[in-house]
Amino acid sequence: MALQTSMRWRYFKEGVFFGLVRLSAFLLTAALGGLLLYIFVNGLGVLSWDFLTLPPTDSMTKGGIMPAILGTLYLTTGAILVALPLGIVSAVYLTEYAKQGPLVRVIRVGVNCLAGVPSIVFGLFGLGLFVVFLQFGSCILSGALTLGILILPTIIGASEEALKAVPQTFREASLALGVSKWQTIVRIVLPNALPGILTGSILGIGRAAGETAPVMFTAAAFYTAKLPSSIFDEVMALPFHIYVLATAGTHIEATRPIQFGTILVLVGLVLGVDLIAIVIRSTMRKRKRW
C-alpha cells in the first residue's frame, strides 16, 4: 500500500514536471511564432515590386527601400570578404598545425571573448579605428571591416568544427602516400570540410545583415540621395532604416507601413539565408560518405 501511494506520488510529480516542460515549449513557440506571424501579416500588404526597386520619396514617407537593400548587400559582401579568408586560415592553423598547449588555449579563449564582445562595442571600435584613426570616415569600407571583425569568431568556430569532422584516416592516408602536409590540407582536408565551412559563412552573412549597432557610427546614413559610387561613400542599411523610421523623425505613424515592409524584407533575408545554411548542412550530413 505504502509502495503504491509512493509510486502514485512519483507519477504525479512526473506529470507535473512534464506539464511544465510542455508548457514552456508551448509558450516559447507561441511567443516567437506570434511575433513572426504578426510581422508577416502586417508586412505582406506593403511588399511590391516598386517597394523593392524604388528609392524613398516625399521625405521618406513614400517610395521604396531599394538603397537600403543595396547598402545591406554591399556591407554584408564586404564583411564576408574580410572574415572568410582570415577565419578559414585561423581555423586551419588551430586544427591542423597547432599543438595543444597554452598558446593555442590563449588563442581559443581570445576567439571566444571576441565572440562575446557586444555589437555596440564593435561599433565604438570601428568608429575609433576605421572612421577616426585611419580617416576612412563613415563609409562602406569602415562598416564592412567592422562587420567582418564581428562575424570572424562565427566563421572560425564553424570552420574548426568542419575541419575536425574530417576523419583522421583521410589525413593519414594522404601523408602515407608521401604527400606534404600543406598539400594534404589543400587537396584532402579543405574540400571535405567545405560544406561545413560554407554553412558557417552563410550563418555569418545572416548575422552581418541583421546587425544595427555596429553600422550606426561606421557606415549607415539616414538618407542618401544617390547610390554609393565607391567604398568611401555612406550607405543606407535595412536594420538602420527600420530603427530610424520607427524612432526618429516626425512621420513615425505615417511611415508605419514602410517600417513593416522593411522588417519583413530584413527578416525574410536573414532567416532565408540562415535557412539555406541549415538545409545545406542537413543534406550534407545525410550524404556523408564516412
Binding site: 515549449a25 516567437l32 511575433l35 579563449v109 549597432a213 550606426m216 520607427a246 508605419r256
Partner: protein
C-alpha cells in the same frame, strides 16, 4: 629541402593569421581606451562609475554612469529570470521528451530564431507590447523595464535553449539506461541524472545568454524608455549602457567630454562582457562532463 622550407613558411604564416583574433581584441582595448581615457581628466574613475547623475549635455555637465549600470543590471537580471527557466525547460523538451519529428524540426527552428535581428524584437516591443502594457496597467509609458526584459528574454531564449540542448544531448546514453534500470521514472532520470551531468554546459548557456542580454543594444535602445535615473518600480524607464552609447554618440561633438564619456561607458561594458565570457569559458573547461569511460 625547399619542400621542407615551404612547409615551415606556411606554418609560420598560418600562425600569424591565427593570432589575428588576439590582435583584434588588443586593438579593441587600445582604441576604446584611446578615446575613452580622456574623460578621466574631467571626472575621477569613482565619480564616473558611482556618480548618480548623467547629464552630459548640461552646463556644467555631469558624467555619472551609475544609473546606466543599474539599468543594464536590472533588465539583464529580469530577462535572465524569465529566459533561463523557459530556455532550459524547452531544451529538456526538445532533447528528452519531444517525439522525433518535432525534435527534428524544433532544433533548426530554434537555431533560426537565434539569428533574428534584434532591431526586429525592438520594433515588436515598441509597436505591440508597449501600447498593450500602457493600456493594461494604466502607465504613462509602455517603454519600461518590464517591456525591455521580456524582449531581451525572447532574444536570449533561443541562444540558451540551443546551447543547453547540445549539453543535454551530449550526456552518454549509459547514464540514462543505468537510471532506468534502477527503477527511476523518466522525470527522476531527467532531473537527477541528465540535468546534473549536463550542468556545466547549461551554466555556460546561461552565462552566454546573460552576456548577450547585457550587451544587446537595439532592444534596450528602442523599448527601455531611456530615462537616465535609478528606477523605483518595474514600470519605470531605464537607460542601459548600450542604449546610452547608441542614442548619444550621433549627437556628441567629436572628441568632446561627452564623446569620451561614451567611449568610457563602452570600456565598462566591454570589461563586463569579457568577465562573463571568461567565467563561461572557465566553467565549461573546469567542470567538463565526465564521459562514460571514467565511470
Amino acid at each position: 629541402m625547399t619542400r621542407k622550407l615551404k612547409e615551415i613558411l606556411i606554418r609560420r604564416i598560418f600562425f600569424l593569421f591565427a593570432c589575428v583574433s588576439i590582435l583584434i581584441l588588443g586593438l579593441i582595448v587600445t582604441f576604446l581606451f584611446r578615446e575613452g581615457i580622456p574623460i578621466f581628466r574631467v571626472v575621477s574613475v569613482k565619480e564616473f562609475l558611482l556618480g548618480s547623475e548623467w547629464y552630459p549635455t548640461f552646463d556644467p555637465p555631469a558624467f555619472g554612469i551609475w544609473p546606466l549600470i543599474v539599468g543594464s543590471f536590472i533588465v539583464t537580471s529580469f530577462s535572465t529570470l524569465i529566459a533561463v527557466p523557459l530556455g532550459v525547460l524547452s531544451a529538456v523538451y526538445i532533447s528528452e521528451i519531444a517525439p522525433r519529428p518535432v525534435k527534428e524540426i524544433a532544433k533548426p527552428v530554434i537555431e533560426l530564431l537565434a539569428g533574428l535581428p534584434s532591431v526586429v524584437l525592438g520594433f515588436f516591443g515598441m509597436v505591440v507590447l508597449a501600447p498593450w502594457l500602457q493600456d493594461t496597467f494604466d502607465l504613462p509609458t509602455g517603454l519600461n523595464i518590464v517591456n525591455a526584459s521580456l524582449m531581451l528574454a525572447l532574444m536570449a531564449i533561443p541562444t540558451i535553449s540551443s546551447i543547453a540542448e547540445d549539453a543535454l544531448y551530449a550526456v552518454p546514453r549509459e547514464f540514462k539506461e543505468a537510471s532506468y534500470a534502477l527503477g527511476a521514472t523518466k522525470s527522476e532520470t531527467i532531473l537527477k541524472v541528465i540535468v546534473p551531468s549536463a550542468l556545466s554546459g547549461i551554466s555556460t548557456a546561461v552565462i552566454l545568454g546573460m552576456a548577450r542580454a547585457i550587451g544587446e543594444t537595439m532592444v534596450v535602445l528602442m523599448v527601455a524608455g531611456g530615462a537616465a535615473a535609478i528606477p523605483e518600480s518595474l514600470f519605470d524607464s531605464v537607460r542601459p549602457m548600450p542604449a546610452s552609447i547608441a542614442a548619444e554618440m550621433g549627437e556628441a561633438p567629436f572628441r568632446s567630454d561627452h564623446y569620451h564619456a561614451l567611449f568610457a561607458t563602452g570600456i565598462v561594458l566591454f570589461l563586463l562582457t569579457l568577465a562573463f565570457n571568461l567565467i563561461a569559458d572557465y566553467v565549461s573547461h573546469k567542470f567538463r562532463e565526465t564521459g562514460s569511460g571514467t565511470l
